[in-house]
């Protein structure tokens, strides 16, 4: 296409975008004015509390959830947005995977840096927008019923938090950064062709905004759990999901400052490189600050889902959680332990044997609470008289299996001599995709399927389509991660747009898996569109929110 043609296309697309934005704004204003007038007439001073009183809460997806500030609406906002980012980042993932078909770059030949951009964007968006976003969404959505909230204050803070977080995510997208998700300077300060790098500073601002947004939400939610919890629910009876959210957010608040400080220093380095470059400093200082946050974040991305598994299991086994106490203790132990192991991401950087052994052994300790948690799940299913296999239950069982594989590959890479073989390779990629695909993605979808009637205002999902969604996701991620794990052990480097021909078979196996996952997600979209276009046919309640009356196996299905 000529550059004139390109310009014309771009302007047309942009105009449509702006017209769309204008329509959205117009709609927002007219609705808001209407509501404002009505609120005024009934002597409310703020439209949101009027809406909450009038409509109770809107538990279904609608545009209203973007202007109402009650917990449920905030939850829906986070959930919708995180799913949108899941699809954006997922598309990036499939494209970059396919581009690795041949050992030499083909799709991106001559502009290999596009691969680096896609990978970086994929990682950052998946972690900060999808994993954190979906967890916050589910927490906001479920906690009011779980805690029987006394009052639902501070909604406008949550609303700010959401918009700041969203803007941060958009900045990340616009920045086209290619520095990997850990931004090591001085590379992050360097410009590379095709614009990758020329706007790294925007990505730094984006991350900072995301962190500020999530911090606000974290404070509101922790406050809700501690102070707004109904008096009828002592801490010792609090649902495990609420515990897991509490621990996650404390972990977040305890480790986020490391990243936020490092990012401010990095931002200063763009102007005047003094902190992490130069003779009296080392880029490793940044790496150490980053991983002090970087390890806790991976647990932040799964802990809420661990809690959700505890809530979902009883619904389909008709059984109480095997051991509530050890469940809480295990979730709580993960908190201090995972603050101590950041060094296992830097074991080849020159720490030497002593520190290597310290972080290596500390990483083995993290496995203990993880294993207790898994045993608790197995125990719950094992002591049940009957297990109903439904779509959410399939996701849960598959998630537990994936977590066991991901945990074992994690232990293996945490062992010092083996880390020397697996660090920097696809083994690590395999390790965390087992966990992310099984737990973060799988359990989020399990919960979304359970919440389906509430989210869609009384519609049911198509079981066949949901079954395909599950099967393709599970099988695809198994194939993909297995290809990576085996190739990685033989030395296949990660984060490269081209590779030695001896690794092609593992790359190609992973491509098959990746494409299968991609196709699987289309079934989810189709399901959503189909059920939204049908008329409502059930009640808008759901089983997941009935944290206190379970022990029936109905589970809403």
């Amino acid at each position: 296409m000529s550059s004139t043609g390109l310009l014309i296309t771009a302007s047309i697309v942009l105009s449509f975008f702006f017209i769309f934005l204008f329509l959205l704004y117009y709609k927002y204003l007219s609705v808001k004015t209407e509501v404002d007038v009505a609120a005024n007439n009934e002597n409310y001073y703020d439209y949101s509390s009027y809406l909450i009183d009038k409509k109770k809460t809107s538990s279904a997806i609608s545009l209203n959830s973007f202007i109402m500030n009650d917990s449920k609406s905030i939850g829906i906002r986070f959930l919708i947005t995180s799913i949108v980012f899941f699809f954006i980042a997922g598309t990036f993932g499939v494209i970059m995977r396919v581009s690795l078909f041949y050992p030499h770059p083909t799709l991106f030949a001559g502009k290999e840096v596009l691969y680096d951009i896609l990978t970086t964007e994929h990682a950052i968006l998946m972690i900060y927008m999808w994993a954190i976003g979906s967890a916050l969404g589910l927490a906001y959505y479920l906690l009011p019923r779980f805690l029987k909230l006394k009052s639902d204050k501070f909604g406008n803070f949550s609303s700010w938090s959401y918009w700041i977080w969203l803007l941060g995510g958009i900045f990340i997208l616009l920045s086209r950064t290619s520095t990997r998700w850990y931004y090591y300077p001085p590379l992050a300060l360097e410009l590379t062709p095709y614009g990758a790098g020329s706007m790294n500073w925007l990505a730094v601002i984006g991350i900072e905004m995301i962190m500020i947004g999530v911090t606000i939400s974290a404070i509101v939610l922790v406050r809700n759990i501690i102070y707004e919890r109904s008096d009828s629910i002592p801490l010792s009876k609090m649902p495990l999901f609420a515990w897991s959210v509490l621990f996650t957010l404390i972990m977040f608040l305890a480790s986020a400052p490391f990243l936020m400080t490092a990012m401010i220093m990095l931002f200063y380095d763009f102007v005047n490189p003094v902190f992490f470059t130069g003779s009296s400093s080392s880029p490793l200082f940044f790496a150490e600050l980053f991983w002090t946050w970087g390890h806790p974040i991976v647990y932040i991305a799964i802990l809420p889902q661990f809690g959700l598994i505890y809530e979902i299991l009883p619904k389909f086994t008709g059984n109480k959680v095997y051991s509530y106490t050890s469940g809480v203790i295990a979730l709580g132990l993960l908190l201090p332990l995972s603050e101590l192991v950041w060094g296992h991401h830097l074991m080849e950087s020159g720490f030497g044997i002593e520190w290597g052994l310290f972080f290596s052994t500390a990483s083995l300790f993290v496995v203990i609470p993880s294993a207790i948690t898994v045993f608790n799940y197995i125990g719950t299913m094992w002591t049940a008289t009957k297990i109903r296999i439904t779509i959410p239950m399939l996701f849960v069982i598959n998630g537990i299996m994936d977590f066991v594989i991901g945990g074992i590959t994690g232990v293996i890479t945490a062992v010092l001599p083996l880390n020397e073989q697996t660090h920097g390779t696809y083994w690590v990629t395999g390790h965390f995709h087992f966990v992310f695909m099984g737990i973060t993605v799988g359990i989020a979808f399990a919960s979304i399927y359970m919440l389906w009637p509430s989210l869609t205002g009384g519609r049911v999902y198509n079981r066949r389509l949901a079954g395909w969604h599950f099967a393709l996701t599970a099988v695809g991620s198994m194939i993909m991660s297995m290809g990576w794990t085996v190739g990685g052990f033989l030395g296949m480097p990660r984060y490269v747009s081209g590779y030695f021909a001896r690794y092609q078979i593992y790359q190609d196996v992973a491509i098959i898996g990746g494409v299968i996952i991609g196709i699987g997600q289309l079934f989810f979209l189709a399901n959503l569109l189909l059920s939204m276009s049908a008329a409502p046919q059930t009640e808008t309640s759901n089983a997941l929110e009935d944290a206190y009356k379970n022990l029936s196996m109905a589970g809403g299905e």
């Binding site: 880029p283 080849e348 125990g379 030695f500």
Partner: protein
């Protein structure tokens, strides 16, 4: 749950945890045992006290955007190779690895990795890391950079040839 049943489940839980701890302790023991072996070596920051072991030939490795260069000292003087490295089997070598600025503005972090030798070591600007190894097989092996270092990171690779 009946009492009897409950006892059985408790036993299962105890067994699971005990078995699990045994496996974990075994792993930790192995970890300490292997790393205490004489021929085990891992990237270590060079200070005054840990110099090159006796009988080990030093090779100075510099990573820059985007190649590895190897400077090799032997009785006849010094030789420099780029990308590819040739060494002799059953001879101990100590790599002294660092990073310098290449065509670009900064020296950045790299990571030298020779998978078939189980050797991996970061190249950090302003820091010398060392690692000692003895190749015990002849042949041609791959050398990779496994820390993202910019535009042509994926081309920062070469071959290690070990001759008898």
């Amino acid at each position: 749950m009946s009492d009897d049943n409950h006892k059985k489940k408790m036993k299962a839980e105890a067994l699971w945890i005990a078995g699990f701890l045994v496996v974990l302790a075994f792993t930790a023991g192995l970890n300490f045992y292997i790393t205490s072996q004489k021929d085990f070596s891992i990237a270590t920051k060079m200070t005054g006290s840990n110099s090159i072991p006796n009988g080990s030939i030093p090779i100075v490795v510099t990573g820059y955007q985007w190649a590895w260069s190897y400077t090799y000292y032997n009785s006849t003087g010094k030789q420099t190779f780029v990308d590819n490295l040739n060494i002799t089997v059953n001879q101990s070598y100590t790599l002294v690895v660092t990073s310098i600025a290449g065509a670009q503005q900064f020296a950045v972090i790299h990571d030298l990795y020779i998978p078939q030798m189980g050797i991996q070591i970061y190249a950090v600007p302003g820091q010398n890391n060392t690692i000692t190894f003895t190749p015990d097989k002849t042949g041609t092996f791959v050398i990779e950079c496994v820390e993202y270092c910019g535009y042509e990171h994926y081309l920062m690779r070469g071959y290690l040839t070990v001759v008898a």
